[in-house]
Symmetry: D2
Subunit: 349 residues, 4 copies
């Protein structure tokens, strides 16, 4: 563990969004962090504890209009929980002042700048830094995260998908028919924006697939799957379709792989249990058991169930996380712990 | 239209279950039916309108303990909305008395008697009649339903799956990698039984896959897919996994097919729009649109959206129904209409 | 019943709001109405069945931008399901063209023009017509509704409250301690507006009282209670507090009255059963039973349970309606039926 | 603070109920407690972490069939989260062995043994100890809790009601018209029992009042209100009616008091803010604000909003708690902290 006598002074930009709020909840009880700056674009200047009444008595801090210079003066590390394309305006200022940045948006996730106009409909204005940013899928990037200055925190769907699929690829299992990623998310995944399609009465007692013909997270999943493959190995095809659950939190991905060579159930189980045996935040469920969102919601855990279907040999992996914890703010704090050499679980139990 | 001067006298066994209750709601306003008998196993003898207060003023009928002889005396047609393995005790008595039966349970759905012990854990005691029962997937069995005496009403998952997949097979499209049927159902699909796993607090704000390694409806789907294939054509492999949605009603199945030869999007759309052009209860959504449960719940409609994924050529079909209507009681009444030669939509608009 | 050979041509302004949509659902299957005009403020010109896909095959009509002259040309009767203060701009044009109007907003509910700035924050621009408008609490205004040209359809909270309380007042029961109206409403009561406070994640798994210090419906309740009192009798004090339920539909009001003289339970029951004995849409529940929203939702029924608390003598009345049916669009159609002399229940069973 | 070198060894009987599970969640991270015994009546002998998968890695303990002697051997303090009438069988054995008991059921809450047959339908078999049991409404019984051996933990409804009403009584405010306690609770308040009325589909999208003519918690509220009154002062009348919310957690009570003498809004605010100024777990909201369940759920906080209605002078108090935390297990741990002289907030932040 690295020597670190004082607490890290941390700031949160976009604190009134769901990810920002969750970051604040976690960080105010983190043993090695002190929240010294919080900002939100739209909110009038006021106390953060008056916006979130349950924080009364736990923190006393003004909620400001985001200003990168102010943030740089007040903090060592700034979490950017901003809408896509906003982070790349702010991060350069912070990094130039020598500050560290964990970006919860997609702005630094993709290595290929050409993917931004294609998947996110904007030109990247800080593309030089894309190669420096560490993609913060904690369980697969520990070494790079240590001492990193700019971390691109993974998206919620990619986190659930990659934690579910990467062990297969690392074990050399391949497929030619496309792998199916059928993912279902709670509503907070869409952010706290006043949109008619997110109204209670549009969602309660309903369910739907969305962006069926293509979702921006595919680029990130595609890039992430390359982590698990040997260099120059061919891309493994997949189809990803998200669905909207009438619940607040949680992502559950049901993953179907038709392997090119049969995989024995015992071998499959061994692959997963070995890969995640020492991981504090990934739990492979016992044989025959599969995850439920209520067992991961409110925690930074990823639960994974695996099995092989008898007649078809299809490998089924079910992966579940809390989209605001392991899928966003929890993993962001896990990454902070890894950057600074703290106990990886600090503030996350 | 067949000549039919008087109303059909109908009975409902298992009227206090969700399917039975829905049958009653539909039948009391059906122009060609008169409900003359309702029964429930457990309930004490009382008026049905005191069990369901919203029926007050619409019907006045005793709810009895099920007795096949009584039912035969009171009705021409009896709907059996009983637990699996109970219908096969009752149906023979009714049929022997010359009555017609629409069985909403699984007891007469499978042609192969050996599948009952394998998938439902009971030996069939009336297996001779399995071959006579008409499998009531209305849109695919109209001729056989006309004048039928025993109809096996399809399960909710098979209805959504088969309406989604059969047009592909009929059009000669084949696949070798298993087709994926990722299905999600509301809670009423599990019936009104006092089980801890169905308690509000176990389900609200949660989500899970269940019976991941095998669900009894697979036998029915497998059998149903043969409807769409030429005789002696090889079975098309599939994997079916159900999930439990924290809502009351509705099934949405996301279906992924990797065809052996590429299918153009226009061709796919043509296959579905042509197949269902004249169907009163199946609607193929416009290009780029996919179903939402709130648009089918409370109706006997099946909504289907189709598309081809660009990079992989995977055909995606999303099929949505109300599990208690098109997935059970609505389709049962549609089948009654077909049996008796009534307008197919009578009582279902 | 009045002679009426042809169907009434009806229009709906504000058809994309929850009340407007519900009106459309009811009116397209109404035996004496033909929907000839639908309009919505914001929506681009398109077919109404493409906005509400479940209407496909049931109606084929353009959804227009509201224009009073167009509406007057196309219809005999126009339902105004517009935001407050919009109806009073449109109604005069329609009425001057000799058309009939049922206004679902609050614009013509209050007799006292001074209450509009006080309770609704706008000056009334058509105050001369306030006295002509018939307050459409159907069960208490039948005579006035017959042949009426302008009907002010009651609010959802006032409907539940007044149907619950008026029998007591009519029976001469009085109170000096304020009567408590503790009301709970589903989310559609707030309309389909993109507001952050109505997002799924702000409401699901939560509950709150709102407008605790005063809600605009109090004026309407106060005015309505006068219906039940003899002329010049003193106002009976009350406190009304609304709460927001995490469900789509339904209002349940729990009403507490401390009568100045004791009321025997049998007498209380007699008051309610007699008052509502012949009402098709109000049901007084049996002794000891109280309403549940699931028994009234989707219907135009009001369910009422009554009882007297032993030790305190407090009279408890629980009144439940579907806020979009009896609390808005259902009652509006009931009023149409009364205006034109149709069977009061036409289109509402 | 009392000298206490070692951790208290604690046991939980009824650990698979909602209160028991919540106790376990809290106690495994409590700095001064070590969970050494957990028991459940029905469950087969197995590991507690296999029943609650999210506990994996946090605890390793057998879940046993409850045996008072075993519990006494393993623990210093036993929490009884058992059904009513079961605790009074077990508590005497534990107390006779010198152990401490916090009973989460109603068995030791009422001082008057005659109230048990009247309100709970059983004769009390350990009535001698009723007078010794300390009623654990923490904020009002600190002195008595210090060193107590038997604590009767308050019910969820009484906790919300009494925290809301007692400051008024302590301040000498009286009423003659009955105070109205209109309370709404999430479903976990009913416990984890497989009852048809608690099924998801019976509760979702619905709402109802229940036990309208009388609920067993009235006895406890009546007794509790006496805490705030001077000796021999007359009982203040009230009516309590509970309602069932379609959510998992939380109780919100809307309380209406018509005081015999007018209370100024500033005076009312002063009464509450002064009474609870130093309380770590009770927060009086700013003027004009009222509680929402989502701000208290998951915490041991009680949020209270107060106001005076202008025209009627009715005092309105809205009190909100998480029924499983401050309404049960959280308060039980708060009481443990007080019994042993720990920091009152230990384990509860």
């Amino acid at each position: 563990m690295r020597f670190f006598q004082q607490k890290v002074k941390v700031g949160i930009a976009g604190v009134t969004g769901y990810s920002g709020e969750e970051l604040l909840r976690i960080l105010i009880r983190h043993p090695h962090a002190e929240v010294t700056y919080v900002a939100a674009r739209e909110d009038r200047h006021c106390k953060i504890q008056s916006i979130f009444p349950y924080l009364e008595g736990k923190i006393d801090l003004d909620c400001r209009v985001m200003d990168a210079e102010d943030a740089a003066r007040a903090c060592d590390l700034i979490f950017l929980a901003l809408p896509h394309s906003a982070s790349m305006q702010v991060a350069p200022v912070l990094l130039d002042r020598g500050k560290s940045v964990i970006d919860v948006s997609a702005d630094y996730r993709l290595k290929n700048p050409a993917w931004y106009p294609q998947y996110y409909q904007f030109e990247h204005t800080d593309s030089a830094r894309l190669s420096q940013a560490v993609y913060g899928l904690s369980e697969y990037r520990r070494k790079d995260l240590r001492g990193a200055k700019l971390v691109a925190n993974p998206g919620c769907y990619p986190t659930a998908s990659l934690l579910g699929l990467l062990p297969l690829l690392e074990a050399g299992i391949r497929w030619s028919a496309p792998c199916i990623l059928d993912a279902k998310s709670g509503v907070t995944g869409a952010g706290r924006k006043a949109s008619q399609s997110l109204l209670f009465s549009e969602i309660a007692e309903s369910f739907k697939a969305y962006k069926v013909m293509g979702h921006q997270h595919e680029a990130e999943i595609r890039q992430g799957l390359a982590f698990g493959s040997a260099a120059n190995s061919p891309e493994q095809p997949f189809v990803f379709i998200p669905h909207l659950l009438p619940i607040n939190r949680g992502i559950l991905a049901t993953i179907y792989v038709t392997p090119t060579a049969p995989v024995a159930p015992e071998r499959l189980r061994e692959i997963y249990t070995q890969r995640y045996a020492k991981e504090p935040f990934v739990k492979v469920l016992p044989d025959g058991e599969f995850p439920e969102l209520r067992n991961v919601n409110g925690t930074n855990q990823c639960h994974i169930g695996v099995g092989v279907r008898k007649d078809t040999g299809v490998v089924v992996i079910v992966s579940a996380i809390d989209n605001l914890q392991k899928g966003a703010s929890g993993q962001a704090v896990q990454n902070m712990n890894l950057m600074y050499g703290f106990d990886e679980t600090a503030g996350l139990r």
